[in-house]
Subunit: 329 residues, 2 copies
């Protein structure tokens, strides 16, 4: 096939940078590539895919002639720029929260619901970085039994907030005062039981996303998912302690096999433990601590870890493009 | 009453040191005080309670004439020293895992089951640092409805492992290689889904303790408690994300009230969040993020944080002594 002309919105951000790395690693057929960034970065040049590329403003000329646009900008910016991509006839793969719950927009994890791409949509949303690994595990477990309830507690890295938060953790570790514009409390040597803002019911928007996005990706609109989303002083790698209540008992060995045989999942057995440092820089969903609840054999417990910038964001978006253009295996 | 002659086993450890601080803060009626430590510390002198006290070996002469001994040593050492305390006629309050599940030994959180002390036992166990705050919250919630299930994910500080682990976190942050004799993986900028060792069934001993000790303190031997215990790069303060499934629905305001009105609990409402840094150095069990599960109104969710060295260890032991000697209120 012909190379694709590609644009990246938010190219100087952490996810934008990772998209460029992943495109190169996976030998994605990149023709022309254009990089857009916020005004404070425009004029700079970025070394990406072996080329030196200027950062420009995402005006209509930016989009003209593009086949594919990866959006790694905030939801309000994505909403504003989507019409420009559409007018230019480009496919937009968006990492933000802007379109994920729009019933007309597919929300895709290629290992879980690739069929959502069969109608060749021109706008596709990639789920939240905590949702992606969770639905990858759940979609396998439900091959063996219906899922009645999912309970999650997260351990989320500061890179999920962005570059400023990474710098804030480093600064706090070095003894500087916490910057309250980043997090409401210190993050160094602390944990913060809030990711994103609180909604009116006492849950956080992150907890809402995990519940609503998982339902959509899994096409299970009544799935019960309760979670507590917590920020931890880790640079990279989101972890989740997960308990899944199944509709009937399944032998642990079968659950182990159905996870082990899934693309993208890496199951580790004792004494090995999955930790953020293991996930850093790779595309695997690491799963460990697989066990059965002692009081209820229908409940299965596991701990999973994923690089939030890779499979949790950039890699998933690139995989969506590969699926759309038939570049898969 | 007359001052008590007191011994502290493990006086140079983190919990032992904190016991001395708490005795002073609470104006505990201390007569003679003797401090025992491992051989590498004996000969040193410690400044405690305004006195300069030598660290000695815990031989029979150490125990002679003591009324009360606080034990902050490992389980095997506690088992070895208990007969010496008993022969000397001293009451032993033990912080280790040695006697907690012994049916003849009361396991006590004074706010929860002070009645366990009414027979004036000579050996009392203080629960694990994660168990204490959990049972304090659960004992209040069950005043309003029976508890069907408890789900916990922990965020535990390195000081729970001891002084070596505190030093290890500091060293790793400074760029030194992790010491595998402390934790099996790096702890700086990482989370480790294992506290204490694994048992044969895939659960950790810490997760077992949380379940079995909570059942004993709450006198509810069939209580369902599932947990995942995780170590995080925090110096001080254990946090827990908790979901409690009640036997029937209770208005959230009533649950809030029953927690707020309990001694030792500090409920914070949005936008306030309980974090380890808030708990550091005080004796409160901080509770926040109180909310109802969106899919099941019988499920209540909260996040709690406690200083693992204070109420999670030293303060609870001193409170047990206050209760035994009628020094309360």
């Amino acid at each position: 096939m012909a190379d694709l002309n590609i644009g990246v919105l938010g190219a100087s951000g952490m996810v934008g940078q990772e998209i460029l790395v992943v495109l190169g690693e996976r030998s994605f057929p990149v023709g022309e590539i254009r990089l857009a960034a916020s005004q404070r970065s425009t004029g700079d040049r970025l070394l990406a895919l072996g080329r030196r590329i200027p950062l420009t403003e995402p005006d209509p000329a930016f989009f003209a002639g593009l086949d594919l646009v990866f959006s790694a900008v905030a939801a309000d910016v994505a909403r504003r720029l989507y019409p420009l991509a559409k007018d230019a006839g480009a496919v937009l793969i968006d990492k933000s929260n802007a379109f994920r719950m729009d019933p007309l927009v597919p929300l895709v994890v290629p290992e879980v619901n690739p069929e959502a791409l069969s109608a060749r949509p021109s706008l596709i949303a990639s789920p939240n970085c905590s949702t992606i690994p969770l639905v990858m595990a759940l979609s396998r477990l439900r091959l063996l039994a219906p899922i009645e309830q999912v309970d999650v507690a997260t351990y989320q890295a500061v890179s999920g907030t962005g570059r400023d938060a990474v710098a804030a953790l480093t600064a706090e570790i070095a003894g500087q005062q916490p910057d309250p514009s980043i997090y409401p409390k210190p993050i160094a040597f602390n944990v913060l039981p809030l990711v994103d803002a609180l909604n009116g019911s006492g849950h956080s928007l992150e907890e809402d996303k995990l519940r609503m996005e998982s339902r959509k990706v899994l096409s299970d609109p009544a799935l019960r998912i309760s979670s507590t989303a917590v920020r931890v002083p880790v640079y990279r790698g989101h972890a989740e302690a997960v308990t899944v209540t199944l509709g009937h008992e399944v032998p642990l060995a079968e659950l182990h096999d159905v996870l082990t045989s899934a693309p993208g999942l890496k199951v580790v057995d004792p004494p090995e433990l999955p930790t953020p440092i293991d996930a850093d820089g790779n595309d695997l969903v690491w799963i460990g601590r697989l066990r059965r609840d002692r009081d209820n054999p229908r409940r299965v417990m596991l701990f999973l870890v994923t690089d939030n910038l890779r499979k949790g964001a950039a890699t998933n978006a690139v995989q969506i493009a590969e699926q759309l253009w038939g570049l898969v295996g």
